[in-house]
Amino acid sequence: MASSHGYWRAAGERLWRDRLARVCVTILAFYFLLVGLSALGLIAKDWNTEVGVSYANPSFMPDYPNPQGQNSLVTVDKIEVDAATRAIDPLAPYYEQIERRAAHYQESIPELSWTLPFGGDKWGRDIVAKTIKGGQISITVGVAAALLAVAIGVLLGAIGGFLGGWIGDALEWFYNIFTSVPYILLVLAFAAVFGRGIGTVILVLGLTGWTGVYRLIRSEYIKQRGLEYVLAADAIGASRLRRMFVHILPNVSQLILVQLSQLVVEFIKAEVILSFLGFGVPTELVSWGIQINEVLAELVLGKWWQLTAAALSMSVFVVAFGLFTDVLRDALDPKSSRL
């Protein structure tokens, strides 16, 4: 291996050598594949349709007691309408008319199954499809909000750190304002004003979560702006904007990447909590947080499968992403990886 590699290629190779990193990348690739397929409408498109009975049992335990399942104790009594009932029924004279009118409408009773692969929720929706759809929305919100927060943080941090002066002071003031309000309170205050919806959650998390990135990028720009390559760029007449974003930015991009992946995990957790509290994704959609919100009532009835599906898929994703962030940081910092 005599050929010299670029920084990113070398970092990628360092990352791939780590077995833990390979496992994490595989898991994350699988999740993002599902998110992509679900976003394109190829899978989990019909998550909102009723395909099973209410709280349909998982297929691996069809005999679990369920009032509407196969082993149902509920029998429907068919009441025969005889002359005696007809005499006291005030609607009796209209039966014919009612039936005639009803004939105009076609009624289709969907074939509801007793069991679903991983059970059903209260409205007989398939938990697998619902969890995939929920994951799609939770992950999309997390990634989009992290991109927004990182964009704001990098922009303000670059300006504050590189230019300094009164602009830097003003940005520091701005930073102090945002950090003097406890984070969750800030998020809720923004949520109170902007209302509910996916776009709103992304906006709220992005507008409140940029402070850490700002701090880091600012200090990095203060360090970098005095280095020789920046001074040299200045000497050959590179503009300030060019020095900031063409010369310095690539040199701090590894920090940005680590921050980004940290924020994705943090924001997915935040979205779950916001949705659980009722200030996140609207209830006609689904996310992991909304699923866990529904679970409170289900557990008392002994229906544990939605909790298991949502909790497991969320935890695996968050753990894999968290570990990935750690190995990514090590791989991007060649000094630490020599240890």
């Binding site: 003097s180 205050a189 109170a192 779950v272 968050v318």
Partner: protein, 312 residues
Amino acid sequence: MSGYLLRRLWQIIPTLGGVILLVFVLFNLFGGDPATILAGKIPSQEKILAIRQQLGLDQPWWVQLWIFVKQVVSFDFGRSWSTNELVSQVILLKAPVSLTVMGQVWLLDAVISVSLALWVAYRRGSLTDRAIMAICTAAMSISFLLYVVVGQYLFGYVLGWFPVMGWSDDFWKNISTYAPLPVVLALLVSIAPSTRLYRSFIVEETEHDYVRTARAKGADEQRVMLVHVLRNAAIPIVTNLALALPALFIGSFLIEKVFSIPGLGREVILAVDRSDFPVIKAITIYLAMLTMLVNLLVDLLYKWLDPRVQLK
């Protein structure tokens, strides 16, 4: 010293002004017309006009901002839009409830995680250390929400060790009956990250020369860890504990919501739900003030704990 204090207090003013401005812009410019929220479902034109006048919404924005600043300075945010209680009354009533739960969490978390951290830092690299650190890492990656939801179901509903939820007017009954389960669940969440953090502080201290000197002089391990190392590691630990203080007043939103504890956190959630702006505004401003004061206190505490620190 007093010069430093005065300067720091003076520096709080622009930040507080900024928070007031942020809250004002957020609620008065983006917040929609409060009169329509207040007038409820049957908005009659006269009613809306009357409310607008009462709230000063027909005034230009600088007059409204002035009204808001006066509210902040006089600690009088008027009445809640949904319950018509005095906002200051709401806060005074709810904050002690949050403190009853979170104060215990704060105290127990400090005691347990510092002792745990000391123990694993002392046995650094051993199986115990690695096992506890691995458990901490795993515990940290599970969402807080799951602890609360599953914990309530398991301990409150299935095992029946604690009441599923509730709160009373009696302080001792709250402490003995209703608070334990939320406290234990909050501890499960907070101990793992605290232990990891404090362990790193303590491990860093044990690598200093003075520790070797102490050992060389023949001090026993207990004395080295508890007197020499802990005294020096106390500086970042105490800072960290003090910085967590403001959050105690709002308690944990999730815990208060799931266990129906009538604290400030639940009040904020209800207020957001009902678009009850005066309550949210007041709590946000007061919490920001408290955070700034605590930050100042932490700096003073720092000086007291570590006399080498020069306050500039």
